[in-house]
Subunit: 392 residues, 2 copies
């Protein structure tokens, strides 16, 4: 079981803080946006006599509220197509357990969300990476490359769209090509869309659930974590119109009983009570952050910044040899002296997002989850750190 690369360096950061250093945390996708008041009102007023188990598929109210939410965005689904999971994480794990037998393979695009590797170990299945490179903006590999990876043991293709860690959004044409492969080769096409509300294009994001003819193959993962800045609620969604798949998934759901009852009440209230203006404000804030980060990074010598169309991450290439060492050095040794005292920045080395050894050594993932003032200071620290690292 691999250690989480995102959390590995946190100990160094804590030690730096203990010495009075201000650390800007860009290492983890924990948004700072306030959780909706609807959540606190609903949970604060719940006061049930007994906090009972929820239904293993999720409360009827939450499933129907989420189905309405998607339907209102042009993705028509029924409550029966929705299972509430313990975060998007569990939705991915249950998908692995349901769609694959131990030893089976899932094709996924690297760099990918590091915890996919953990779920693969837990489910006893193999992740087969298709490498996307920063030089072509982390675009999807060509369909022929995907075809070449398919074996008798391949049961699914897994994408994250918008992508954690790269912020890449797959073009509709690319997604439809992959859908054709999934149908032709009878594979599940699983798309982790937990960042679907963080898409910075002009049109709506194409969901895997909207691709005609893919109904029996499409599996979508979503979550309240990023959508409502409720990472701690551990409420996610597994969505598919394949009734057999959903019935099998529910058996794994029954074994773990249910998601947390009180948090389901709170998330339902958010789905029913917040409207497009909530998401518009959050999206505008993140777009401004992205623009700030991209502008600052592009101005740093030797830094490669691919296009970032969604999520709140960027994988960028730095003029360094080893991002693990550099990220550690930044929190362990480098301090930018400012009028507010010494500062530094914690980033995630990108190596942990690749499965192919040696890839990502010059890259880091930056999560732009701080307000613009702090992001700006974090970029000051990174810029100064890069300069100091090269002349050290």
């Amino acid at each position: 079981m691999p250690s989480s690369p995102i959390r590995r360096l946190v100990e160094y950061a804590i030690r730096a803080e203990q010495k009075g250093v201000k650390v800007h945390y860009l290492n983890i996708g924990q948004p700072d946006v306030f959780s909706p008041k609807e959540f606190w009102e609903a949970t604060g007023n719940a006061h049930l006599d007994v906090l009972e188990y929820g239904h293993s598929a999720g409360s009827a109210g939450l499933r129907s509220a989420y189905a309405s939410h998607l339907t209102g965005r042009g993705i028509p689904v029924d409550a029966a197509d929705v299972m509430v999971t313990v975060g998007g994480s569990e939705a991915v794990l249950i998908t692995f357990l349901t769609a694959l037998n131990p030893g089976d393979e899932v094709i996924t695009v690297e760099p990918f969300y590091a915890n996919y590797a953990g779920f693969a170990v837990a489910a006893g299945i193999t992740l087969v990476p298709l490498t996307a490179t920063i030089d072509i903006g982390f675009a999807l590999p060509a369909p022929e490359e995907i075809e070449q990876k398919i074996t008798d043991r391949t049961k699914a293709i897994l994408l994250c769209n918008p992508s954690n860690p790269t912020g890449q959004v797959f073009a509709e044409a690319e997604l439809r090509q992959i859908a054709e492969i999934a149908v032709a080769r009878n594979l599940y096409l699983v798309v982790d869309e937990v960042y679907r509300d963080f898409f910075y294009g002009d049109d709506a994001l194409l969901s895997v659930l909207q691709i005609a003819g893919l109904e029996q193959h499409a599996v979508m993962v979503d979550s309240a974590s990023k959508k409502y800045s409720l990472c701690g609620a551990r409420v996610g969604f597994l969505v598919s119109k394949n009734a057999e798949f959903m019935a099998a998934a529910l058996k794994f759901g029954q074994a773990r009983l249910s998601a947390a009852t009180l948090e389901m009440i709170g998330v339902e209230a958010c789905l029913r009570g917040t409207g497009p203006e909530y998401f518009a404000a959050v999206r505008a804030e993140y777009m401004a952050r992205r623009d700030l980060v991209v502008r600052r990074l592009q101005a740093m010598p030797g830094v490669t910044v691919p296009p970032i169309q969604g999520a709140f991450y960027a994988v960028v290439r730095l003029p360094i040899e080893d991002s693990d060492q550099f990220c550690q050095w930044m929190v362990e040794e480098f301090r930018l002296e400012t009028s507010e005292g010494p500062e530094t920045v914690l980033m995630a080395p990108a190596t942990g997002f690749y499965i192919t050894p040696g890839l990502g050594k010059q890259e880091v993932r930056i999560a732009y989850v701080l307000d613009q003032n702090r992001l700006s200071r974090a970029m000051d620290a990174l810029e100064a750190g890069l300069a100091a690292y090269q002349t050290r």
Copy 2:
């Protein structure tokens, strides 16, 4: 992946209710005791700006509150020995994933908590059953029988004490014998103690954590679900003094990020705010219920009732041939006409708690989780149903 036998018959019960039949639910361990006010106060007042991910091992406050709780009961543990899990269920699953490789074996006593089988499928491991029989009160099989089941692939022995589904509590001498085997054969001894507060003996329950010399082998599972009538909180505990085991378990914890943040706040408040009087009252209520159920069952012709020393379950043998059919017949067809209208009772067929085919066909599990008035009416319905079934 097996279906949950406990939940399978619920649909019949719902249909009966739709026809105006009062169904007494004795099929699932959802206690009716009120959740502590401390939980609602703490969660209602939380109102954080952002509901962030918790630490993967659980919040520092909850881990330390739980460690103090155990220490106060003569089971000295440190917060570092404790990992907060998504219910006791996840603690068992993570133990399987941590202690075993796919294909490895866990010896457990049947009848056992049906979801263990689901976790075994999810982890790709094999449960090897040791059969306990109702005729000897579901006492543990002799040590020689356990020894005979050990193979090169055996990595752990799993017990539930007090037992779900039988209500059996293992004698200290039995537990110590098994501990000796675990040490001698280098196996983990995993004891699911989620019903530890529901022990009806005079002395304190012996925890696996209290057995001297077993520190590197003992793994204990606990939960807030039954302890505080907080099944919906999905907060459990994995406890071991084996630091290597806990470090490996935490990696699986990191992949799923954390338990629900708000619910951890509520459970911490319960641990800090409730005292022995809380548990004494709950225990007294359950003892009265047990006495009622046992007295009523013993008075029914042909019913075998083993000693019940803990938890809130009983597995009893009925004068029937097939408990699946009987339990279904009870909710589908049988109605006891009372002054308050037609009534019936939903029980769990015991077959789902055995892994050996054919066992438990004459047995049902009864969860005495209703107040004494309703339990009494449930026993009326069962008594009448048994009589009607035999003359049908």
